[in-house]
């Protein structure tokens, strides 16, 4: 009993000291808080008005253990609601909520080098227009990752840094499986037998990236490989074989930040090539059968290399400062995303694939915003955005491809 009291008292005292240590003038701990909330109304040209919001809360802590050693910890809560998104990424009504933790240890080696190992976890819930319970989301995802990065500073004055980073993540989808494959084709191969538990899309993601930056110019080259643990490639007979699915993505990006007179420009351009060995079987309905899987207008069609594409993105955000001391600023942004599939044919409105041209998507966004600084830590922004999406895919029952959308929203940010 005495021991309990003693330990309780000691702990309370130590806790008090720790609290004192994290106080503002502490040299060891630096806290970081950032809360951003956006709520917008969306009006697509086909379909109805809907509203969606984004909430992002970050809590971080920087600990300086020694002169050359630092530890960063970050907890991030992100809710992203309904909204417009580039074609073939998600439906308007998809929502997701994620919790993630990242810890990174930084060690400076000499004046110019820095090495950064890190570890991250995240838990992601997703929900579609069916409003299922969060824990039942088909695409709920858990990830665990390890990273190792190195920085080399080659120009101290102009902030010239080159970063080489390697990352590996295991991604698990505990709720996702596909029963349709077994119903459409008898269980002829082991891969065609659906699992009653989830895990069909479980994968290991490995990424290597090289990112130089100098004098407010930055760029990068990234290579990502996804190895699927359970998902196999579907053959042109309609059944799943024994080869595991593998996806490879290479991307290059470049951008800079410049201030010209009252304008602040941050243009960025990127080019991505995504290649996968997976094919796709399109069923027009449950129970559809076909004698010729290679015919684009039959009820069951085989599409080879359905997921290969090349994507170019250009984004030019621009801020106009009305005056140096003004609380107000006007901002604008122009974004273009263009995706060209290398093998996927375009589809007509009746869900038939047309031989000849391959599918191409284009999405242009024009945004105008007014920003007001409430004080040195808080900011609010009113924005309006025009989205024009077009594609030669005309089958839009489930995923929208061609539409014009208007967005009007408000966003608050508190950052310390």
């Amino acid at each position: 009993m005495k021991k309990t009291i003693l330990t309780a008292v000691l702990t309370a005292g130590l806790a008090g000291r720790l609290c004192a240590a994290v106080a503002e003038d502490s040299k060891i701990f630096t806290p970081y808080f950032d809360m951003t909330m956006t709520e917008a109304g969306f009006m697509p040209s086909q379909g109805n008005l809907f509203s969606g919001g984004n909430i992002n809360t970050q809590v971080g802590l920087l600990t300086k253990i020694a002169k050359n050693d630092q530890i960063f910890g970050l907890y991030n809560f992100n809710y992203s609601g309904q909204g417009f998104a580039p074609q073939d990424t998600k439906q308007f009504t998809d929502r997701s909520m994620a919790h993630s933790f990242t810890i990174e240890y930084r060690r400076a080696i000499g004046d110019k080098f820095r090495v950064r190992p890190g570890i991250s976890f995240s838990h992601d819930y997703s929900r579609t227009g069916a409003d299922e319970a969060w824990k039942n989301g088909l695409y709920n995802m858990n990830t665990f990752g390890l990273q190792l990065a190195g920085d080399y500073v080659f120009d101290m004055e102009k902030n010239g840094i080159v970063t080489l980073a390697g990352l590996t993540k295991t991604v698990k989808f505990p709720n996702y499986t596909d029963l349709l494959r077994e119903f459409e084709n008898p269980a002829s191969t082991a891969a065609n037998i659906a699992s009653a538990n989830g895990g069909l899309e479980d994968q290991t993601l490995k990424q290597v990236s090289l990112r130089p930056s100098w004098n407010n110019f930055f760029g990068g080259l990234t290579y990502t490989q996804q190895d699927y643990a359970n998902q196999k490639v579907v053959a042109n007979t309609g059944t799943y074989g024994n080869t595991a699915q593998k996806d490879k993505t290479t991307s290059v990006d470049f951008g800079f930040h410049r201030s010209l007179w009252v304008f602040d420009l941050y243009p960025m351009v990127s080019y991505t090539m995504h290649r996968s060995n997976q094919n796709f079987i399109r069923y027009k309905s449950l129970g559809a059968t076909s004698t010729n899987l290679l015919d684009g207008s039959s009820d069951v069609t085989f599409v080879a290399r359905n997921y290969d594409y090349n994507e170019t993105t250009l984004s030019v955000p621009l801020d106009i400062n009305l005056s140096k001391t003004s609380k107000w600023a006007i901002g604008g942004a122009f974004n273009v995303t263009s995706r060209k599939y290398t093998d996927r044919p375009e589809r007509d409105a009746n869900n038939n694939y047309l031989a000849g041209t391959k599918q191409q998507n284009l999405m242009t966004t024009l945004t105008g915003s007014i920003r007001k600084r409430i004080n040195d830590v808080a900011m609010m922004r009113l924005f309006y955005s025009l989205v024009v999406a077009s594609s030669n895919a005309k089958f839009e029952q489930y995923m929208p491809y061609n539409y014009t959308g208007n967005t009007f929203g408000i966003s608050y940010q508190l950052s310390y």
Binding site: D34, S100, K284, G287
Partner: protein, 620 residues
């Protein structure tokens, strides 16, 4: 044996350990002393003493004073752990320094005071020519000149300020919390607290230690800002990296709505249920519920309770069942799901036909199914299910006075080997491309694609056996839910007698019993009771998402084949044979199987919300 003295020593040790750790490392010395200084600093150690040059660690007693010249600066630590920084050209007097009361007087200049938490009854005040500030657990800066013009900035905690000369207008007492300050232009003038400007806050927060160059004072603050910028950068990179995984999800959405769940069924088998709603044609909706069990066993425990016998094998691997509903409308549906509610509220939209199919699809070459078809009857303005459904399009519908206007089911075993495979046959049945063969015994033929004529191919395939039957009008139904005590488990056993081909005879095998066992189960396979729904403090939404409906269906033979003798529910139960009507799996006649579907309400809520007007119209 522990003596009182040892006990006391232990407690004393513990207490001092506590003091040592919990209180900041401290000096419990008696007087205030100078911690550090730079430039011209003078001290008057006691009230009547002389001004002498100061030195580090010099003590100042009660009534003493300290002053700095131009370019000087000093830091003083008081016995109660209060720290006072003096800037250049400042003069401070220690008017009172008792255990429970301390008062400093700022004659002129600028000071920064950090008062830690005080003892319970302890008071701490700082006086200027114009006002008195009382503080506890506070950090603030104070500046004054000899005429009384003063400037207060509160950084942490709260300061209670009282003017020495009450102003002409306005209050003479203020409680100023952190982040605010007060500036008094002239003694006796009115003044109010105002928010600190960022510049004033920075100046107050910077390092006031003496001997530092101006550029160095903000070094710590800048370092903190750098650190925060680094974390911001780190946070941005981390968020980007989290988003890469999402962006690599290959999404090809081929359904309007989809949901899925893994749970246990009432027999204890692991079940995976996938539901989807798709549109095979622009004017059709197809909703299907796929059920898969890696292993299926049914121990037949329901039989003793009033249920029915399962004659199939135990431990069936990769068992597949499904339920499918297709409905076609008179107009094409809008592309977007969100526009459906207003589409359906339009009274000119009518459903043109609908079908419900439940099947055991474990073996794709031998499928046991039960189906119901509905066609739109224009004169009666509703979907009807009666023998008229199995006639070619264009036939006059039955009047509601027609005695044959009763429910019709199609059921049986589809087999491969004929002109139409079993899978394709089921597909055609779900599109209602079947007609009565006209042989008078309930057999069916496939129609052509637009239901205008027969194709001549009989339904079932070689060795198969598919018939249609109409519900008898005179036999009693069997339902076990009558006379259940309150709060019994939500289980219903139910059976109806059907007349094959509407022969209205009394021969062998002319009648069948369509028997159902319905259970409301939770995710663990446990059977729910009504009070689980009405007396839980959870909302209905959460409840729906953790429950499911399981329906086990059989087609059983009739013992008597004479509906006239079945007058009570007990007669009905006795007439339901334990043998199945159809032979399945190469077994002897009477050894059939069942359809065991688990239905989750996940999509129903979403679909109902969008089609609510249509459903209310249909009901009417």
């Amino acid at each position: 044996m522990r003596t009182k003295i040892t006990l006391f020593c232990e407690y004393f040790f513990a207490f001092s350990l506590f003091l040592l750790i919990a209180l900041p490392s401290g000096l419990l010395a008696g007087e205030s002393k100078i911690l550090s200084m730079s430039g011209t600093v003078e001290v008057r150690p006691t009230r009547e003493g002389q001004w002498t040059a100061a030195s580090e660690n010099m003590e100042i007693g009660e009534g003493g004073a300290i002053r700095t010249g131009a370019g000087g600066g000093a830091v003083m630590l008081m016995p109660n752990k209060t720290k006072v920084w003096l800037k250049e050209s400042s003069s401070l007097e220690l008017e009172q320094r008792q255990t429970l009361a301390s008062r400093l007087a700022l004659v002129f200049g600028r000071i920064k005071v950090r008062v830690p938490h005080l003892l319970r009854k302890e008071r701490f005040e700082v006086r200027t020519p114009s006002a008195v500030c009382a503080v506890r657990g506070t950090e603030f800066t104070l500046g004054t000149d000899e005429e009384g013009k003063m400037d207060l900035q509160v950084l942490f905690g709260e300061v209670k300020l009282k003017f020495a000369i009450p102003p002409d207008r306005g209050s003479d007492e203020f409680s100023i919390p952190q982040g605010q300050g007060l500036r008094l232009e002239e003694k006796g003038r009115e003044a109010k607290p105002a928010l600190l400007t960022p510049k004033a806050e920075r100046e107050a927060l910077e390092n006031w230690n003496p001997g530092l160059k101006p550029a160095e004072r903000q070094k710590d603050l800048r370092q903190k800002e750098n650190d925060r910028a680094q974390i911001r950068e780190f946070a941005k990179v981390t968020t980007n990296s989290e988003n890469t995984v999402k962006s690599f999800l290959n999404v090809v959405k081929e359904s309007d709505l989809e949901a899925g769940r893994t749970l246990n069924d009432v027999h204890g088998n692991l079940v995976r249920v996938d539901q989807r709603m798709v549109r095979p044609e622009p004017d059709q909706i197809q909703f299907f519920n796929l059920v898969k069990r890696p292993v299926y066993g049914n121990n037949g425990s329901s039989l003793a309770d009033g249920g029915f016998k399962y004659n199939g094998a135990q431990g069936v691997p990769e068992r597949l069942d499904y339920m499918q509903m297709t409905m076609a409308f008179s107009k094409d549906l809008p592309q977007s799901l969100e526009q459906w509610p207003s589409f359906f509220s339009d009274n000119s939209i009518k459903p043109s036909w609908a079908s419900f199919v439940l099947a055991n699809r474990t073996d794709a070459s031998e499928i046991f199914f039960v189906a119901q078809g509905y066609k739109y009857d224009a004169p009666r303005d509703m979907l009807v299910n009666n023998p008229w459904v199995l006639t070619v399009d264009g036939t006059t519908p039955m009047l509601d006075t027609n005695p044959d206007d009763r429910n019709v089911i199609m059921t049986g075993i589809l087999k491969d080997g004929g002109a139409v495979t079993a899978l394709d046959g089921l597909n055609r049945i779900s599109k209602l491309q079947v007609l009565d063969a006209g042989a008078g015994n309930g057999t069916l033929v496939y129609s052509n694609a637009d239901r205008s004529a027969s194709s001549g191919i009989s339904v079932g395939g070689p060795g198969g056996n598919v018939v249609w039957a109409v519900k008898t009008d005179n036999a009693s139904s069997y339902s076990s839910s009558n006379n259940r005590p309150d709060n019994a488990p939500l289980v219903q056993y139910q059976a109806d007698m059907y007349d094959i081909g509407n022969q209205q005879g009394a021969g062998a095998n002319e009648y069948m019993w369509f028997a159902k066992e319905n259970y409301v189960i939770g995710n663990g396979g446990n059977i729910r009771t009504a009070s689980d729904f009405t007396n839980s403090s959870s909302d209905l939404f959460t409840l729906l998402k953790s429950n499911a409906l399981e329906s086990v269906m059989y087609i059983k033979k009739s013992v008597s084949n004479d509906p006239g003798t079945i007058i009570t529910g007990q007669n009905a139960k006795a007439d339901i044979s334990v043998s199945d009507y159809f032979a399945y799996g190469g077994g002897a006649a009477g050894s059939g199987t069942n359809i065991d579907v688990v239905f989750i309400p996940d999509l129903m809520v979403a679909a109902v919300q969008r089609m609510l007007p249509a459903i209310t119209n249909l009901k009417d």
